[in-house]
Amino acid sequence: MLLVVYPLRSLRKGLCRRETIWQYYISILNWWSVSHSQITRLYSRFTSLDKGENGTLSREDFQRIPELAINPLGDRIINAFFPEGEDQVNFRGFMRTLAHFRPIEDNEKSKDQNGPEPLNSRSNKLHFAFRLYDLDKDDKISRDELLQVLRMMVGVNISDEQLGSIADRTIQEADQDGDSAISFAEFVKVLEKVDVEQKMSIRFLH
């Protein structure tokens, strides 16, 4: 309770514009279960990105980040912040997306097995990555979708044929049901040996 009440004061100025603080804060805490310092810090980052100062971020706000422009997957990642059909994201949505990248704490592994899966669970992390490939949201990575991502990630030196054969090969490797596409289950299966918990986590704050 203390954890919740104390940061209230620090957040009041920024957050009470649109929703009640409680709604806001508790929902965020559900994803993060961390101290307020991370939230306040991320909130200040949020407001600094928010050039329109309307409490939400638009695509343009993200695109203004210079490093994202040179990130091959930058646009895809920006899109991942926006819920279906919307072009604005509020602080809660912002935090919700970022929560995927929170490292899994030791004490989290054991507790509330029966509760809802935390956003930073392995499968949620994987699903986030999966959605970057899956443009048409049919829960399958088709050859074309894979090719698009490949094209973004490899240099121009690789010809289309080579890229095509890489894509074929990749799908072949992962495909189990023979539909020439990678479903999420296959995606998880093919990455089962990868330490996703580590490779998809960031320490935001210490």
Binding site: E67, I77, D106, A129, S159, R169, K199, M200
Partner: protein, 881 residues
């Protein structure tokens, strides 16, 4: 006395020699012969007795232990025979010759991503941990001495004990490597312990030198500034050593960029410059181990990309061999040196105290540091990891060499320190080395699981990196990923361009590398199974059953079914070989070969003794060769592929031949480059046909090429035409009728997927044959030709070209890519114009080439002849034969 000893001694030898490190045999036996010639005789019969034991023994006992014990025995023999110890581990020899190869090897093959991912932890343990160990051990021993527990003969003050503490507390890279390599703990744990042992050298060197000078000065003459100097010198030594290493890494990468014409000295440069880095750092009293480590880590990426495949193999094996030899010699000599009791002075309290303190302080240090580090680490190190890290702090030859270096005049208690060091080294290497494996098993430490990277993992992990970098950007948190991303961009923009060959730089891509490797693997398995069954597991394809009946399915089909992967790798195998074989065709091969240049940057783990991928590669090539030969003879239906395989050979000669031809001939219309060879080839062909095999094949091919061009030219260039009347006849041939319908039908498939695929596949099939298989190919081709030729010869020279389409009617895909060629040929008589001809040269070939040679660099594309040509070649060859 000598006889039983010799027996004991000989029992150790085979244990060492039969295993994977067979190169040890030489040096061990050398030492054996050198030290105790008597032992050699009895070694033989007792060897057989222990042979079956050997595997069991080496699986339990680390080799370093066995080597030390062997050294002890040998030293004992020498002592017994000569009455005095003759051999010792000389510090100079150790530091100048034995240590550098080991450090270079570990630096060069260090999994750099893993290393830099954990650099924070490694540095902490290396610097803070070593400092803590030195001071704590030194002061604790001093306290023990003050308490009167030690023999009064030990004349040592606080400074002496601190000096001793500094040399005894450093974890030794050689010992750690020797033991941990056999334990197979997970990579993170390994890299932390091993990285620490490498990087703590700077601390050890500085502490040792500082305390040594303090001892020499005497405690009375030490001023406060000396302490400051000591601290400053730490930074100087460590950063300076690193800088020297980076400088030489840069030089090395730069030099290898320009060794294209002198491949043979590439490995030499790698060793030379790394060693010079070591010497340079040593000379100016910087940390030489740091220098050579960083030289190895940093140069690898660029060097590997620049040097040839052969040099890469040489470097790899030489480095491993040198390092293992050094390691063997070091441990042997440790054992031998230990028996020299004249230098010993035993003090039980000192020995036991040292052992106790180093174990205790190591454990305390690890726990405390880990506690702090875990607050910053993404994946915290748990208790089990900490236990292994504490227990894995092995001491080794560095400590021994340093203690030998002490000056007896200045350090009165040197003999005691020597004895203690020997005991500590022996204890850590033998006792801890023996028990760490059971301990790891007992604690259920996460082991490393070795699996080859799959394409998916590679691709998605790349995506993860990008995602994390992007998220860090969004969050505005400049963390690890941010800096790595920055570094990679810097590397890509400047460093790689500066340090890598253009060909290597343009074509490097990690995803492609993995793809390439996987392909090789598949190709090998494909060839291994005689092409009969591609394992369904590897290439899970629905069309499996058709593969089992080889009489029906051609190689082409097989390859196509198995996916482009199988095709591509076949080329890979070839390019690797051809590139080394022919210097004069270098241009061509570098371009093509560099696409698939294997770079083994992706060593998941470091191991000195295993170089797994290559070994297989070679033997499988041989299997591959045999299988291909057999397959060729068996499947006549694949004739098409066989012939087009010739195009491979032609490619190789291409560059060379082309020059000759363009020199000898000057044609009025030789504007388009491609025309020249075809046109000129015609007259040349007839004369050359009797020449040696290689030129023969290339010339014949060209003749075929010429045929195409000639048709086009026949109308507008009479001069050329009359030299080869045979081909002139071809143009108004009656065969105009068959192609035109085919043209109509096939025009679409040509554009369509199927045709595309077929062309692709067939061209890839050509790559099956490595250069040195040319002979075999020629033979098998001739055998095929004898069957295939009759229709061709009967119909006369004019009909030659149409035999193939007829033969291949059953396979529309392959025929389809023939037709455009033909159609262009036959249309020319109707549009009698120069422009029409030039179109014929370029238009049909253009698209075709792209599909045929999808893997070729663009420069080469223009020169590539169409696939159809090689097919005709075979008839020609038949007529020659």
């Amino acid at each position: 006395m000598p006889q039983p000893l010799a027996n004991v001694c000989s029992t150790f030898v085979p244990e060492q020699t039969d295993g994977k490190r067979c190169w040890h045999q030489g040096c061990q036996e050398g030492v054996l012969q050198l030290v105790s010639p008597q032992a050699g005789g009895s070694a033989g019969h007792s060897a057989s007795r222990v042979f079956h034991l050997s595997r069991k023994v080496t699986s339990i006992v680390p080799e370093s232990c066995l080597l030390i014990l062997l050294g002890l025995v040998l030293g004992g023999i020498v002592l017994a025979v000569a009455k005095k110890a003759e051999y010792q581990l000389e510090p100079n020899m150790f530091f100048l010759f034995l240590l550098p190869p080991i450090v270079l090897d570990s630096g060069y093959f260090m999994p750099s991503r893993l290393f830099f991912d954990n650099i924070g932890a490694i540095l902490t343990y290396a610097v803070v941990g070593t400092l803590w160990n030195s001071f704590a051990t030194g002061t604790a021993l001093w306290g023990l001495h003050r308490a009167g527990l030690m023999d009064p003969g030990v004349e040592a003050g606080l400074m002496d004990f601190l000096l001793f503490g500094s040399l005894i507390s450093a974890v030794d890279p050689v010992a750690v490597l020797a033991v941990f390599e056999e334990v197979h703990v997970n990579e993170t744990l390994f890299i932390i312990v091993f990285g620490e042992s490498l990087l703590n050298d700077a601390v050890t060197v500085v502490l040792y030198k500082v305390f040594n000078s303090f001892v020499e000065l005497g405690p009375a003459h030490i001023h406060a500034t000396d302490y400051v100097k000591g601290v400053a010198s730490f930074f100087l030594v460590s950063l300076g050593g690193t800088a020297v290493g980076l400088l030489f890494a840069f030089l090395l990468a730069l030099i290898t960029r320009f060794t294209k014409r002198v491949r043979i000295i590439e490995p030499l440069f790698v060793f030379l410059l790394a060693y010079v880095a070591y010497l340079a750092a040593e000379m100016v009293s910087l940390s030489s181990i740091l220098a050579v480590t960083f030289c190895g880590i940093c140069c690898k990426k660029y060097v590997e990309a620049n040097i040839s495949q052969k040099s890469r193999t040489t470097v790899k094996y030489t480095m491993k061999t040198l390092a293992s030899s050094s390691e063997t010699i070091i441990f042997m000599f440790l054992g031998i040196s230990a028996v020299d009791t004249s230098k010993w002075a035993w003090d039980t309290a000192l020995v036991l105290g040292t052992l106790f303190f180093i174990l205790l302080f190591r454990a305390v240090g690890v726990v405390l540091q880990t506690h702090v580090l875990n607050r910053f680490r993404l994946i915290p190190l748990d208790r089990i990891d900490q236990v292994v890290m504490s227990y894995g702090g092995l001491r080794g030859a560095v400590a021994f060499a340093l203690v030998i270096l002490l000056d007896r005049e200045k350090v009165k208690a040197k003999d005691y320190f020597v004895a203690t060091t020997i005991v500590v080294v022996f204890f850590t290497v033998i006792v801890q080395g023996l028990t760490i494996k059971p301990l790891v098993t007992w604690l259920k430490v996460k082991r490393s699981d070795h699996h080859k990277p799959t394409l998916n993992e590679e691709l998605h992990e790349h995506a993860f990196d990008h995602i994390l970098a992007a998220v860090e950007d969004i969050v505005g948190h400049h963390g690890y990923h941010y800096w790595r991303d920055k570094w990679e961009q810097f590397d890509k923009k400047y460093l790689s361009q500066l340090l890598m060959r253009k060909s290597a730089y343009r074509l490097r891509d990690e995803i492609w590398d993995v793809y390439y490797k996987l392909n090789i693997r598949d190709a090998i398995s494909f060839a291994d199974q005689g092409g009969h069954v591609l394992s369904a597991a590897k290439l899970a394809l629905p069309s499996m059953p058709s593969r089992t009946s080889m009489s029906e399915s051609s190689v082409t089909n097989l390859l196509r079914e198995s996916g482009s992967g199988a095709c591509l790798d076949l080329q890979v195998i070839d390019t690797v070989r051809s590139r080394r074989d022919k210097e004069d065709a270098a241009m061509h091969h570098v371009l093509r070969g560099s696409l698939y240049k294997p770079r083994r940057r992706y060593k998941a783990s470091y191991s000195r003794h295993f170089i797994s991928p290559d070994k297989q590669e070679r033997q499988d090539k041989e299997i591959f060769r045999q299988n291909m030969k057999r397959r060729l003879e068996t499947f006549k239906s694949t004739k098409h592929n066989v012939c087009s395989s010739k195009s491979k050979a032609r490619l190789k000669e291409k560059g060379r031949k082309k020059k000759n031809i363009s020199l000898t001939k000057e044609t009025p219309n030789g504007k388009t480059q491609r025309n020249i060879p075809w046109q000129e080839a015609a007259p040349v062909l007839v004369m050359v046909s009797s020449e040696e095999e290689e030129s023969d094949s290339s010339e014949t091919e060209r003749e075929d090429d010429e045929g195409i061009v000639f048709i086009a030219r026949a109308t507008d260039e009479v001069l050329q035409g009359k030299t080869t009347p045979g081909s002139l006849d071809v143009c108004p041939s009656p065969c105009i009728i068959p192609p035109s319908p085919t043209l109509a039908e096939k025009e679409l498939p040509w554009k369509g997927d199927q045709a595309d695929l077929a062309v692709y596949v067939s061209s890839e099939t050509t790559k099956i044959v490595p250069v040195d298989m040319q002979k075999a190919w020629n033979q098998s081709i001739s055998s095929l030709e004898s069957i295939a030729s009759p229709p061709g010869t009967e119909s006369g020279p004019q009909h030659r070209r149409f035999v193939c389409p007829v033969l291949e009617e059953g396979r529309p895909q392959s025929a389809s890519h023939v037709t455009p060629e033909q159609s262009s040929c036959f249309q020319f008589p109707s549009h009698i114009s120069r422009s029409g001809r030039s179109q014929s040269d370029s238009s049909p070939d253009g698209p075709e080439q792209q599909e045929l040679q999808p893997l070729m660099a663009t420069e080469e594309q223009g020169r590539m002849p169409p696939t159809v040509e090689p097919r005709r070649l075979m008839f020609h060859r038949a007529s020659h034969l």
